[in-house]
C-alpha cells in the first residue's frame, strides 16, 4: 500500500479528476444525478488519496520532498515530469482536496443558471487537476502547464454561469492572468539558459543560479513577480479580482478565493524565492510596500462597497496583503505565517462566499442596503455569517488570527539585508489595517444580519440552512475552530518545509 502510494499517489491525485471528467463526457447530459455522483466520487477519491499521502507523510522530514516521481516527459527540451510533496505544499493540497468535494456537494441543489450539470462539474474537475498539479509539480514547465490549466475552466465558469456582467469579468480575468504568465514563461526560459546547467528542475535550480549577474536576476525575478503577483493579486494588479468574484457563480467564487489565489503566493514561496534569493532580497521591500498598500487599499475598498460579494472580494485583496507581507520578510516566521494565512483565508473566505451565495439564492440580491435582519429571518445562516466575519477579522481562537498576527509580528524583525525601520513601518500600517478589517466586517454584519427584516421581505419566508449546505459547510466551520485553537495543525507541517525554501537565502547570508 505504502509502495503504491509512494510511486503513484501524487499522479493519482492529479489525474483522478480527469478520469472522472472523461467518464462524464460519455454520459448523456440528461442524467444529472449520475453526473453529480461521478463528480463527487472522483473528487472524494482525490481527497482520499491526499489523506493517505498525509497519513504516510514523514513529518519529521517535512523539509525534504517526499513521494517524488521523476520521469522524462519532453526529452527534446529537457523537461521532466517531476512531482513531489513537502511541508509547504501538503496543507495547500489538503485544502484543495477538501474544498472541491464540498463544492460538488453544494452544487447538488444550487446549480446556477443555465444549469447543465454535466459541463459545470466537468469544469470543476478540470480545475482540480490544475490546482493539485500546480502544488505537486517540481519542474518549471510542468508547473507552468498546470498553472495555466486552471484558466480555461474558470473562464467558462464565470462567463457562462456568472452574473450580469459575466462576459466582461471572464475575459478580464483571463487577459490579466495570461499577461502575467506570458512574462513568467519568458523568465523560466531565461532561467534555463542562464543557470550554470540548463534544467527546469525546481529542486536543482537553487544551486545553479549563483553565477547569474545581478541585473539578470532582478529582471528574471521581475518576470516571475508579474506572473505570480497578478494571480495573488497584489495591488495594483488586483482590479480583475472584484469583477471576477462578484460575477462568478458561488462555487466559482469559492474555488477562486480558497485555492486559485494561493497559486500565486505559493509560486513565490516555491519558485521565486528559493531559486533567486539575491533578487528576492532586492525585491522584498517593494513587495512589502505593495502588500501594505493592498492591506489598506483593500480595507478602504471594502468600506465603499454596496454589494456583499464585492465586499468579500476586496477583503481578499487585504488578506492576501498580509500573506505577501509575511513572504516579503523572507524569514521562516513570516513564511510560516504566509502558508497559514493561505490556509486560513481559503477556509474563511471560501465559507463567506458560500454564505453569500446562499443569501443571494434566497434574496436574489446582494445589495447590502436591501438586506437586513438575517438573524431574525434565517437565524442559523445569520450566526454562520457572524462566525465567519469574526474569523475573517482575525479574532483570536479562530483560524484567521494565525494568518494575520504572525505576519505582522514577522515584519518586526525581517531577514538580514532588509531595512528594519522600513519593515517596522509596514508593521504599524498592517496593524492599523486590522482595525479597518474589524470595521468593515462588523459594519457588514450590522447591516445584513442585525436589525429588523426590511419592508420588502415581510411575508417572504427565508429558508434557513438546508442539508447540502450543512454537509458542505460543517467541515470548514470545524476546521476554522480547530486550527484557531490548535494552530500547530498547520505550523507543525509547514515549519521544516519553510526552512528548506529559505535555505538558499541563509546560505547567501552565511557565505
Amino acid at each position: 500500500m505504502e509502495d503504491l502510494l509512494d510511486s503513484w499517489g501524487p499522479t493519482a491525485a492529479v489525474f483522478l479528476p480527469v478520469v472522472g471528467a472523461a467518464l462524464m463526457l460519455v454520459v448523456p447530459k440528461a442524467q444529472e444525478q449520475l453526473h453529480k455522483t461521478i463528480a463527487l466520487v472522483s473528487s472524494l477519491a482525490v481527497f482520499g488519496v491526499l489523506i493517505a499521502i498525509a497519513g504516510y507523510f514523514d513529518y519529521a522530514q517535512g523539509g525534504t520532498l517526499q513521494y517524488v516521481v521523476d520521469q522524462s516527459w519532453i526529452e527534446a527540451i529537457n523537461v521532466r515530469y517531476i512531482l513531489g510533496i513537502d511541508g509547504i505544499s501538503l496543507p495547500l493540497l489538503l485544502l484543495t482536496g477538501l474544498i472541491v468535494p464540498l463544492c460538488v456537494i453544494y452544487s447538488w441543489n444550487h446549480l446556477p443558471e443555465p444549469r447543465n450539470a454535466k459541463a459545470f462539474l466537468i469544469l470543476v474537475l478540470i480545475l482540480e487537476t490544475g490546482m493539485v498539479g500546480t502544488f505537486v509539480a517540481q519542474d518549471l514547465i510542468l508547473f507552468f502547464v498546470f498553472f495555466e490549466i486552471v484558466l480555461l475552466p474558470m473562464y467558462f465558469m464565470i462567463g457562462v454561469w456568472g452574473g450580469e456582467q459575466r462576459q466582461y469579468a471572464a475575459i478580464k480575468f483571463f487577459l490579466f492572468t495570461l499577461f502575467g504568465s506570458a512574462l513568467m514563461i519568458v523568465s523560466f526560459l531565461a532561467l534555463y539558459f542562464l543557470a550554470s546547467e540548463p534544467t527546469f528542475d525546481i529542486r536543482a535550480l537553487p544551486e545553479l543560479t549563483g553565477d547569474i549577474s545581478r541585473t539578470a536576476q532582478l529582471l528574471v525575478f521581475g518576470g516571475m513577480f508579474m506572473g505570480f503577483g497578478i494571480k495573488v493579486p497584489m495591488f495594483p494588479f488586483h482590479t480583475w479580482l472584484p469583477d471576477a468574484h462578484t460575477q462568478a457563480p458561488t462555487v466559482g467564487s469559492v474555488i477562486l478565493a480558497a485555492v486559485l489565489l494561493k497559486l500565486g503566493t505559493y509560486g513565490f514561496v516555491r519558485v521565486a524565492i528559493p531559486i533567486l534569493p539575491e533578487a528576492a532580497i532586492e525585491w522584498a521591500p517593494w513587495i512589502g510596500l505593495l502588500a501594505v498598500i493592498g492591506i489598506i487599499y483593500g480595507a478602504l475598498g471594502c468600506l465603499a462597497q454596496t454589494d456583499m460579494k464585492r465586499l468579500i472580494a476586496f477583503s481578499s485583496v487585504a488578506h492576501m496583503g498580509y500573506t505577501m507581507l509575511g513572504i516579503s520578510t523572507l524569514t521562516s516566521f513570516g513564511l510560516n505565517a504566509a502558508v497559514m494565512g493561505m490556509v486560513a483565508h481559503g477556509l474563511i473566505t471560501g465559507m463567506l462566499f458560500f454564505v453569500a451565495g446562499s443569501v443571494k439564492e434566497r434574496y436574489h440580491t446582494l445589495e447590502i442596503s436591501r438586506l437586513g435582519g438575517l438573524l431574525l429571518s434565517a437565524p442559523r445562516m445569520g450566526w454562520i455569517l457572524g462566525f465567519c466575519s469574526m474569523a475573517s477579522l482575525g479574532l483570536p481562537g479562530l483560524a484567521g488570527f494565525w494568518g494575520e498576527f504572525p505576519a505582522i509580528l514577522a515584519s518586526y524583525q525581517p531577514a538580514d539585508g532588509l531595512s528594519v525601520e522600513l519593515f517596522r513601518t509596514y508593521m504599524v500600517i498592517a496593524a492599523i489595517g486590522t482595525v479597518f478589517a474589524a470595521g468593515y466586517l462588523l459594519w457588514l454584519l450590522q447591516r445584513t444580519a442585525f436589525g429588523t427584516v426590511k419592508e420588502e421581505w415581510k411575508g417572504h419566508p427565508i429558508r434557513d440552512v438546508e442539508w447540502p449546505e450543512w454537509i458542505a459547510w460543517t467541515p470548514l466551520l470545524v476546521l476554522i475552530v480547530a486550527i484557531g485553537v490548535y494552530p500547530n495543525l498547520v505550523f507543525g507541517i509547514t515549519d521544516s518545509g519553510v526552512g528548506n525554501a529559505l535555505a538558499p537565502l541563509a546560505q547567501l547570508a552565511g557565505g
Binding site: A76, I77, I185
Partner: protein
C-alpha cells in the same frame, strides 16, 4: 561546353512525387470517361495522398540523405518532414472539400486535380535546393491555387479573391525573380549550397547581394502573408471557398516557409546583416499588425485570415536570430518545423468547424455562432479546443509551439531575441482576446435566430475533425513527438 550526362534518378526518392502524379492522371481519366463516378473522385484523391505518404515513411526509416541533379534536389530529414506535413494536411483538405464541392454544384474532377497539382508543387518545393527548381515549384503550387480561390465562379467575392491573389502573387514572383537574377549574376550559380559557399566569404557585405536577398525574401513574404505584404490575404480568404481558404492558410503558407528556410539556411546564411534586421522588422510588424486588425473583425473567416497573418509573424521571429550561431540556426529550423506542424492541426481543425457550422447557418459572421453550445455542444467544445490551442494555452497543442519559438528566441541571448520574445508574449495576450471572443459567442450568447436544430456532421468532416483534434490534444500532452520531428528535420550537407 560540358557534355550532357544522363542524370542518375533515384526512384525511391521520387516515389512520393511519382505517386502524386499518377493520381493526378487517374483523376483526370476518371473524370473524363465516367460521368457517374463523380462520388469516387475525393476518395481517389485522398487515397493517392495517403499512398504518397508511404514512401515518405520508408525514406524516413531508411534515413539516408539523397541528393540528385548536382545538388538541385535533395531528400533529407527536413524535406521528408515537410512532405509528410503537406500530404497529411492535403488529405485533411480533401476531407473538408468532399461535401462542400459535391453539394455546391462545382466542377469536381478539376477541383481535385488542381488541389493535387498544388500539393505536388509543395512536395517538390520541400526538396528544391536550387533557385530555378524553387521557382518552378513555386509556380506549380501557386497557379492552381489562384484558380481554386476563384472556384465559386458565380460569386463576385470569389472572383475578386482569385484575381487579387493572382495579381499580387505574380507581382511577388516578378520581384523574387529579379532578386534571384541578381544573386545568380554575382555568384554565377543557382545551386543553393554553392551560393551559400560564395556568400560565406567577402560577398556577404556586397550591396548587390543584399539587394538580391531582400528581393527574394520579399517575394516569399507575400506567400506567407507577412505584413506589409499581407493585403491580399483577408479578401482572398473571405472570398475563396472555405476549404480552399483552409488550404491556403496552412499548406500554402507552409510552402512559403519551407522556401524561406531553405534559402536562408543553405544559401544566404553568411549574410546575417542582410536578413536578420529584415526578419526582425517583418516578425514584429506581422504579429502586431495582424493581431491588432484581427481584434476588430466581425467575420470569423476574415478574423482567421488576420490570425493566420499574426501566426506567420511568430514563425518568422526565430529567423531574426538564426544567424547568431549554428546552434541558434538549428533551433530556429526546429522551432519553425514544430510550429508549422502544430499550426496545421489547429488551424485545419478550426476551419473544419467553420465549414461544418456554415452548413447550417449559411454564414461565417461572428454573430451566427451565438449559442452554438446549446445545440451543438460537441462542435463547441472542439472549436474551443482549437481556439485556445491557437492562443497557446496549455495543455492544448499550441503551447509547445509557442514554447519552442520562445526558446529559439531566448537561446542566443541577444537583445533582439529578448525583445521579440516579449513581443510574442504580449501578442499572445492580444490574440487571446479575439479567440476568446469566438468562444464567448458560442458559449455565452443567445442563439440569434432561435433555430436550435442540431448540426449534421457528414462523415468526411467528422474524420477531419477527429484527425485534427487528436493531433492537437496529443501534441499538447506529449509534445516530445513533434519535438523529435523538429530535431529530425536537418538539412543535407550542412555543418
Amino acid at each position: 561546353m560540358v557534355d550532357f550526362v544522363t542524370p542518375n534518378i533515384d526512384y525511391h526518392a521520387f516515389a512520393p512525387e511519382i505517386i502524386l502524379l499518377s493520381t493526378l492522371v487517374v483523376l483526370l481519366l476518371v473524370d473524363v470517361f465516367s460521368e457517374r463516378s463523380q462520388a469516387l473522385l475525393p476518395t481517389i484523391a485522398g487515397l493517392g495522398l495517403l499512398a504518397a505518404t508511404v514512401p515518405v515513411l520508408t525514406l524516413a526509416v531508411d534515413g539516408a540523405d539523397r541528393t540528385m541533379f548536382g545538388g538541385a534536389y535533395a531528400v533529407d530529414g527536413f524535406s521528408l518532414a515537410m512532405k509528410a506535413l503537406f500530404l497529411v494536411s492535403g488529405y485533411v483538405v480533401v476531407l473538408l472539400s468532399t461535401n462542400y464541392v459535391a453539394e455546391g454544384d462545382y466542377y469536381e474532377g478539376e477541383y481535385y486535380f488542381l488541389l493535387l497539382s498544388s500539393l505536388l508543387g509543395m512536395t517538390v518545393m520541400a526538396s528544391a535546393r536550387d533557385l530555378v527548381t524553387i521557382f518552378v515549384a513555386l509556380e506549380l503550387l501557386s497557379i492552381p491555387a489562384y484558380m481554386l480561390a476563384a472556384w465559386r465562379k458565380r460569386d463576385a467575392k470569389s472572383n475578386e479573391a482569385g484575381l487579387k491573389y493572382y495579381l499580387m502573387g505574380v507581382f511577388a514572383s516578378a520581384i523574387m525573380l529579379y532578386g534571384m537574377s541578381l544573386i545568380f549574376g554575382v555568384t554565377g550559380t543557382t545551386i543553393l549550397a554553392e551560393i551559400g559557399a560564395a556568400i560565406q566569404g567577402s560577398l556577404a557585405t556586397e550591396p548587390i547581394v543584399s539587394l538580391g536577398i531582400v528581393f527574394v525574401i520579399v517575394g516569399f513574404a507575400f506567400k506567407v502573408s507577412a505584413v506589409p505584404f499581407h493585403t491580399w490575404a483577408p479578401d482572398t480568404y473571405e472570398g475563396a471557398p472555405t476549404p480552399v481558404t483552409a488550404f491556403l492558410s496552412v499548406a500554402s503558407k507552409a510552402a512559403g516557409f519551407v522556401a524561406i528556410l531553405q534559402l536562408v539556411v543553405v544559401a544566404f546564411y553568411g549574410a546575417t546583416d542582410a536578413y536578420q534586421p529584415m526578419f526582425f522588422g517583418l516578425a514584429a510588424l506581422t504579429m502586431t499588425v495582424g493581431n491588432l486588425i484581427a481584434l476588430r473583425q466581425t467575420n470569423v473567416v476574415r478574423l482567421f485570415a488576420y490570425s493566420s497573418v499574426a501566426q506567420a509573424g511568430y514563425m518568422i521571429a526565430p529567423l531574426a536570430v538564426a544567424g547568431e550561431s549554428l546552434g541558434s540556426r538549428d533551433q530556429a529550423i526546429s522551432a519553425i518545423v514544430v510550429y508549422l506542424v502544430v499550426y496545421a492541426a489547429m488551424n485545419l481543425g478550426a476551419f473544419a468547424i467553420i465549414i461544418t457550422v456554415a452548413r447550417k447557418t449559411r454564414s461565417a459572421e461572428l454573430d451566427s455562432y451565438g449559442g452554438l453550445f446549446q445545440y451543438a455542444p460537441g462542435l463547441t467544445v472542439l472549436m474551443t479546443v482549437f481556439l485556445f490551442a491557437l492562443a497557446g494555452i496549455p495543455p492544448l497543442g499550441g503551447w509547445f509551439a509557442k514554447f519552442v519559438i520562445f526558446r529559439a528566441l531566448v537561446t542566443p541571448g541577444t537583445g533582439a531575441g529578448y525583445v521579440l520574445a516579449v513581443l510574442v508574449g504580449v501578442n499572445s495576450v492580444i490574440a487571446l482576446f479575439y479567440y476568446a471572443r469566438i468562444a464567448q459567442s458560442m458559449w455565452m450568447q443567445p442563439v440569434p435566430d432561435g433555430d436550435t436544430t442540431p448540426v449534421r456532421v457528414p462523415q468526411a468532416l467528422a474524420a477531419a475533425l477527429a484527425i485534427t483534434a487528436i493531433v492537437t490534444l496529443v501534441l499538447g500532452v506529449a509534445p516530445g513527438l513533434v519535438g523529435d520531428l523538429g530535431d529530425m528535420a536537418d538539412f543535407v550537407a550542412l555543418p
